[in-house]
């Protein structure tokens, strides 16, 4: 079977993605033993095959982001497909987007999957023309942290699960959600930042303030992703607390402040346990 880049269309839970790169890897744990009265050793798999899929992709439609966000904090498996390779038991591990003012915006996603991949027929090459999200056309709302314009942003979501097998089961029998968080870190020149709004503590020091107060209060910030034709390609938002800020400068440059807002994510149980 000849396989090329043109045959490896990536699909997550039925949603197609325009992947710039995609990697699949899987492994198995092996237990070896020998016994008195035997010569040599024996081996058996001590665990089911597990693997990971990492993909960097162009953000070209709202559906691509919403499909991934629908998996935030969930325990249900999704189907992953990369060309002829298919994985039925995928769980979102992380999703991140980085952007600056003059570049195409790309997303990166990582999945863990359980059970080895299967292989089917080779798909034919598809045809498409995309207009991806672009930093020159994307902006956001950072008024809660007193920022009026940004140089770049770094959005990331990560979550962890515990996958359990039962005796006699080939497929995972139970998935337990451990924890998740999403972060949005932005950089802006200091003249575009209301410094007091980025204070880590409020007027009452570490005590929680009222919404809209400077300091330790809940902040809602978001990024709207557009392509160069000013069409909306999705949005990324965080509703959380300021956890870090830093100031930096290089020779001949303006002082840049970087601020991070972090949101701890709570599992959406959906009454399925």
């Amino acid at each position: 079977m000849s396989l090329f880049f043109k045959n490896l269309k990536a699909t997550i839970d039925g949603q197609d993605y325009y992947a710039e790169s995609v990697d699949l890897s899987e492994s198995i744990s092996i237990e070896t033993f020998s016994a008195l009265g035997t010569k040599g050793s024996y081996a058996f798999p001590s665990n089911k095959p597990e693997g990971s899929m990492n993909m960097t992709f162009y953000l070209s439609s709202e559906a691509e982001i919403s499909n991934i966000e629908d998996q935030y904090g969930k325990t249900g498996f999704v189907n992953l497909k990369v060309g002829p390779f298919e994985m039925d038991f995928g769980l979102l591990n992380s999703f991140s987007v980085q952007a600056d003012a003059n570049s195409i915006i790309k997303g990166s996603v990582s999945y863990n999957y359980y059970g080895q991949m299967s292989s089917g027929s080779t798909p034919t090459k598809g045809t498409a023309e995309i207009v991806p999200a672009h930093g020159a056309a994307s902006s956001g709302d950072f008024s809660d942290i007193g920022v009026s314009g940004i140089l770049n942003f770094d959005y990331s979501f990560s979550q962890s699960h515990e996958v359990q097998y039962g005796l006699g089961d080939n497929a995972p029998s139970k998935v337990v959600f451990n924890e998740a968080s999403k972060e949005l870190s932005i950089s802006a020149i200091v003249s575009d930042v209301d410094f007091s709004q980025t204070d880590l503590t409020g007027v009452n020091a570490l005590c929680d303030g009222e919404p809209g107060d400077a300091g330790f209060t809940k902040k809602n910030i978001s990024v709207t992703l557009n392509n160069l034709c000013q069409e909306n390609v999705g949005s990324l938002s965080v509703s959380g607390y300021l956890s870090e800020r830093s100031i930096g400068v290089e020779p001949g440059g303006e002082v840049v402040e970087t601020v991070k807002v972090i949101e701890k994510f709570v599992r959406d149980a959906n009454c399925d346990e």
Partner: protein, 292 residues
């Protein structure tokens, strides 16, 4: 008898082309070169291969203009470090209906040179961060240019005054002065490739070099440059109108550091020495008031 039918092509004669910088016509222009290029990245996606291309990078125009010095004032000096617009106006049949326009431009280089037998030049380059090309700007001189003759005040090589420690006994053959400005635009997300701010990196360096036919000049010892004042010199270049007329342009370079020397000898050639100096400034306004 033959009758030839077809499109009539016309050309733009140089006498019907005009260069304006911030509304002022630039005289003595020998050449104008303007260009832009779009930095497009090809996108390849698994399962599809080529899925299009997109702009990735900065959108800039480059303009370079070479001039002979024909006036006693230079409008460019007043624009160093400032945002400017400008254009080359042209058009068929002297119509001046076309323009290569630019705005949000900054002078990124300025130079002047002269050799024995030549007219002194003053060239400059511009990087434009705004619109570049055809324009509908009200500031454009398109369709609004009238020919304005001047009497050139030419600075010739034999009517200039050079103040150096070596020029009185060694025949200076040429000078070359150049200044480059390293502009650092600040781009914000959502601003569609338009910079919101500009910074000029420092130090701003003016390099000046002289070529001399050597009589008694002896090149300084390299190792004497360590903690020595012999490597600092006050230089001045005064360009006068031909036939010892009044000064029309000058460059003052006090405390110039000697940073390079070279000597060249060959059969049939005059022994020549090249000297290279540098002046450094920490802001453009100090530079302009000190040098021009």
């Amino acid at each position: 008898m033959y009758i030839i039918l077809g499109m009539a092509f016309q050309r733009n004669f140089y006498g019907d082309q005009y260069v304006f910088i911030h509304g002022t016509e630039i005289k003595g222009v020998q050449s104008f070169d303007g260009s832009w290029s779009i930095p497009r990245s090809n996108m390849l996606a698994a399962g599809y291969e080529y899925v299009g291309s997109e702009i990735e990078g900065v959108l800039e125009g480059d303009i370079s203009i070479s001039r002979l010095i024909v006036e006693s004032s230079d409008p460019i000096v007043g624009h160093l470090g400032s945002e400017i617009n400008g254009e080359l106006v042209y058009g068929p049949n002297q119509s001046t209906s076309k323009s290569f326009w630019f705005d949000q431009g900054f002078v990124n280089s300025y130079s002047s040179s002269c050799s024995v037998g030549e007219v002194a030049t003053s060239d400059f380059g511009i990087t434009a961060y705004g619109s570049v090309g055809a324009t509908h700007s009200n500031n454009s001189k398109k369709n609004n240019v009238s020919y304005n003759a001047i009497t050139p005040k030419v600075a010739t090589a034999n009517s200039m005054t050079l103040t150096t420690s070596f020029g009185s006994t060694n025949a200076i053959q040429s000078y070359d002065l150049s200044l480059s400005l390293d502009l650092k635009p600040v781009y914000k997300m959502g601003n569609m490739f338009i910079p919101s701010k500009f910074e000029i990196a420092t130090p701003i360096v003016i390099s000046t070099s002289f070529e001399i036919l050597t009589s008694d000049y002896e090149i300084e010892n390299l190792y004497h440059s360590v903690c020595s004042t012999n490597f600092v010199e006050n230089l001045a270049i005064s360009l006068n109108e031909k036939c010892n007329g009044p000064e029309i342009r000058s460059f003052t370079l006090n405390n110039a550091d000697l940073i390079g020397s070279s000597i060249s000898a060959g059969i049939g050639d005059n022994l020549s020495i090249s000297l290279e100096f540098e002046n450094k400034f920490d802001d453009i306004s100090t530079l302009v008031s000190a040098v021009f």
